[in-house]
Amino acid sequence: MDPRPVVLPRRVTVVEEESAGSGISRLLLSVTRDGGPAGAVTWEFRYGGLPIATGELCQDASTVAVQAPSVEPFMDSAGFTITASDEEGRPAAIEATCVRPARPPTRAEAAARAAWPGVRDQDGAPPLRQHLVAETQDAYRFLSAGPAGEARRRSVCVYYHFSALLARRRRWLRRLPPPQAGQGQAG
């Protein structure tokens, strides 16, 4: 049996229109037919690796424009990717451009992005907090959107969910010795 070809996600070129107000985002898709798939092409638009829109380009079409209401204002343009495959599941070459309305960055956002653009590289947590680390992950920051967007990789510690931290805090507080008589009553 032939191994199933892997369909790798491609980054999406994003055009942000600050004057567009609160409209609906549009996707412009273009499939290269020369030497490529002859039949229908199924595409999947993703945010952070999670599919948020799917569709199909029929046999005769090589470009199509569709509305993408699932693109929400809080979504970061760097997180958009697209995959495409033909009827037999083979990867198809697709170019995608997402035109989305966007507001300008606020004063605080501009300052935060300038002052703290990346994450500190962390091989591991300090010894006192190692028990709170869930895992170490690679984080990518794409410097510019689009297929050629350059990625800068950092290794970061990801700590536990707040409920796990809260449970640990409660256990820690229970283990504390009770205050002795006459102590801790001032004020």
């Binding site: 945010y47 929400e72 809080f74 970061d76 004063r107 605080a108 990518y140 510690c157 409920s163 805090r169």
Partner: protein
Amino acid sequence: MLSWLVGALLACWLLVTVLRNVPALGPAIARRDAARMIPSWALFAKPQTVDMVLLRRDLLRDGTLTCWREVEVAGPRRWYNFIWNPGLSARRAFLYLANEIAAAVVRERRAARQSAPEQGTPAALGQGTATALTAMTTTAYLSILKYLSERSHEAVAATQFMIMAVEDQAITGRYAAAGPRRIMFVSELHRVRRAWSVGAGQ
């Protein structure tokens, strides 16, 4: 005669109120004020001169790190907020939590300066530093983290927040040209769900 008695009573009340607001006497009087009749006169309290802004960024399931984005606690302000403002409590709660974290950071920096004065004031705060780790199990930190975790998209694997002090934002607006602002705190990255695996959406 009655008017003299009422006048004397009000004069005593005013005197006790003034004494209640003397820092050295205030706690002792407050403890004896079982009926809560003596007001804490905060007219001379140091006012808040900066707006605390909450920002977040996310680590998505495919490893993409998003840009910092401002979080509107309790939604945007509306024109009718001057008479009906249901979001005020949430904003005040966030302000309290942000001030708690900012105060903890100041304490931490002071302690670090006293324990190792030759190293000077630690300039680096937040993610990857002892300050962020110390704050991690405080009530304020966990409350903000819970608020953000519960408002995360399915594609978000982990989140991180920043507290920034911005001057004059209430007057000049959020989109004014760059003015004075100061990063107060940057958290570590935290999972937003109990379990997730990178690559689940790939």
